[in-house]
Symmetry: C2
Subunit: 436 residues, 2 copies
């Protein structure tokens, strides 16, 4: 087999055999096939796509390039949740303890934020002392103990994907459904899970801006899961406006705790509980959707999910007092309201613009190597459909420094992200589609 | 400017600004932009194409990456001819001395054969002692003296193209009209010419198999020439069956000499004289097509072209006696006829198959670093439209060794390259289109 012939076959619209895809991925991971050939290959895939079997072969080759966790000695059905990323998406922080409190085992390997989207690891680390870099032995132990453990990706997980993703990032080949799907699934399947609930975000703040594109990704992800013998459910959820009110790491951690206390913004609660219920179904904890939903609501209402979160935080080195006293979370020295320049009803809030605003304040990363400030961010005061008076605060910035150019510029961008109008407005449905 | 953004713009069907293309080419040539980004870029260009202005910018950037010969101190109008490559294409060997004998200055920088196509340098080197690696000072001197000099590409000519071509070769991005056109023109325009006649081959033995594709390449080449302020004429010529009868380096050199002596196969003569006449028109030696044609025919008939070739050979270190005594050219020890297995009229001869057969005998290269045997090759005994009896020789192989597997296998392939049938047949027109 020759790499250039495989590239040519894909370029000309051919269907690759699994062994050809394996040859490319293994050769690339091992250094025998150079990056320029993979770059050309990824661009050919961008234009020509891959069918289900090709995508599954790509996923499996990347998965097998590294370690696959074997959690068979941990009792229970292992189910994880993965989101394609959005703004204000702190779902995992509440979802993992809720699902665990309901009897699901949640071996969660998460990522960090980049660009306008946040990352679960950054939000967890906003809790003083919380550690996400646990060794696998400790991960296994805490899964047995708490039913959930949340860590970062190790170097041993799907190294071929890691290498390929870095290459795609600098060759404008990120935006390809089969490559995205293969990347996501190779990492998640390496966790040794039995089932996976996927939250494919769609809208302005999501990676997939258009519904049909998101639907295609969702079906591709589900197809890979099936091909690899895993139970997979995908929900398409709205990411036109940010999820919940808080955007920024400690601010989001606090909002997740509020949800576990039985409060929190209704949209965040709805998305979190819907995803959680799907996890219970995959795990076989409940067999009907309504029963699963009642069970997760009960775990919040009776405090068992909050108690589980407290244990998780403590066992991962975090300060459990922060769960009960949110004032122990890092807090930015400056709060600055962003007033409405006119009265009206909020017609839309550009989630991407809010995400970028939070990033500018220091909550996110422009580059992978950047550090984040856990305290800063944006808290929305109004969401789509709400009426505001002129001069009333649309949002509050949490900043590291008073005044100056950055904060004023961010305030202007947050104001511009709000579209106000005279007519009534209501947000679209939160869950757009279910693929099970 | 960022390379990944430029790749993305092209990927998404955008039109690049000249400075963006220059940024990529200069960065690549200088080592600041890595090969994987160019590989992705070339694949994006394969799918999205480039318009005339983009292609001209690419050509100019590659041209400027190296030395551009300044031949302004050499009197006369400098016009070269370039062919996109075919089988049996020994045109340049006869054309350069004919055009020079008519008063055109021909600074010809040629290439070597690869795959099924031959190269002018290999054919010239079949003449004992002939040197193609002359220093630029000698090239200039011989141009003044003989009106023509034929050398190989120096490392100083369009190094960005050299680097990019090697990359395209291993990333399945060779077959892109703007990239092909830019590569050809950047090298030819570096010769310091005033005008260029292009012979775009079309058919089975050519790089461009389909007429419309060849036409597009021809118009792209002409467009670049115009954009760069050069006089360019393109002829689309037939490469369904090999040009002339001989395929193999010394065999082709001998056939070119026969043409200069007033003989040679009619198709070779027609294509050579047609291209030559175009050179005279571009050089302003004649102003009408018919007069130009008469002039080149006269240069052959009166022996002045042959005499010019003799001088060129001698001045480039070759044995001028070989021009008058073709037996002094290398000759293969074995001649083996390929008989017709049935009677019939030759309907078609697959030029590519004949080229590959000659290559297998040692006349061509599988890889750039391979060496060629100047003596070996295939001589066709019949061409399209000719009737043959069963058992009569279709062709004669000139091989380095008697019998054995290779020669027998090649004989079978040459026989299979001939398609015989009961009906009369005639080859299509030799010159399919003229773009001036």
């Amino acid at each position: 087999m020759r790499a250039s012939e495989i590239i040519r076959a894909k370029r000309d619209g051919g269907r690759l055999r699994p062994e050809e895809i394996r040859f490319l991925v293994d050769g690339y991971a091992g250094g025998a096939i150079p990056d320029y050939q993979l770059a050309a290959f990824c661009m050919a895939v961008f234009f020509r796509g891959m069918d289900g079997e090709e995508t599954a072969a790509l996923t499996e080759a990347m998965l097998r390039s590294g370690q696959v966790l074997d959690l068979s000695d941990v009792p229970g059905v292992k189910v994880d949740k993965h989101s394609t990323g959005g703004v204000g998406d702190k779902v995992s922080l509440a979802l993992a303890p809720i699902a665990a409190a309901c009897g699901v085992v949640v071996p969660m390997v998460s990522g960090r934020g980049l660009g306008h989207t946040g990352g679960t690891l950054d939000k967890l680390e906003a809790i003083p002392g919380f550690r996400v870099d646990l060794p696998v032995s400790r991960f296994r132990e805490l899964l047995r103990r708490n039913g959930a453990c949340l860590i970062g990706q190790t170097a041993e997980i799907a190294p071929a994907d890691k290498k390929l993703y870095a290459l795609r990032d600098v060759t404008a080949t990120v935006e390809s459904i089969p490559l995205i799907a293969g990347s996501i699934m190779s990492k998640k399947l390496a966790e040794g899970i039995d089932g996976l609930v996927l939250d494919v975000k769609v809208g302005r703040g999501a990676f997939m801006k258009r519904r049909e594109e998101a639907g295609l990704l969702a079906r591709t992800l589900a197809g890979i899961g099936r091909a690899m013998g895993k139970r997979v459910t995908v929900l398409l959820t709205d990411m036109e406006q940010p999820l919940g009110l808080a955007v920024g790491n400690a601010l989001e951690a606090a909002e997740a705790v509020e949800l576990l206390r039985g409060g929190g913004p209704p949209d965040l609660r709805e998305v979190t509980l819907a995803l959680c219920a799907e996890m219970l179904l995959l795990a076989g904890v409940e067999t009907g959707g309504a029963a699963a939903r009642r069970r997760v609501e009960r775990a919040v209402a009776d405090g068992s999910a909050l108690e589980r979160f407290r244990r998780i935080v403590e066992d991962q080195g975090g300060d459990p007092r922060a769960v009960d006293d949110l004032a122990r979370l890092p807090r930015a020295p400056v709060q600055r309201d962003v007033p409405a320049t006119a009265a009206g009803v909020v017609q839309a809030i550009d989630a991407e613009a809010i995400g970028l605003a939070a990033m500018s304040l220091g909550a996110g990363r422009v580059r992978v190597e950047d550090r984040v400030d856990p305290a800063v961010g944006v808290v929305l005061r109004h969401k789509v459909g709400e009426a505001v008076e002129r001069g009333a605060p649309l949002a509050t910035l949490h900043a590291a420094r008073q005044g100056g150019e950055p904060v004023e510029a961010v305030a202007a961008r947050v104001a511009a992200a709000y579209r106000l109008g005279p007519d009534p407005a209501s947000p679209g449905p939160l869950v757009l589609e279910r693929i099970g």
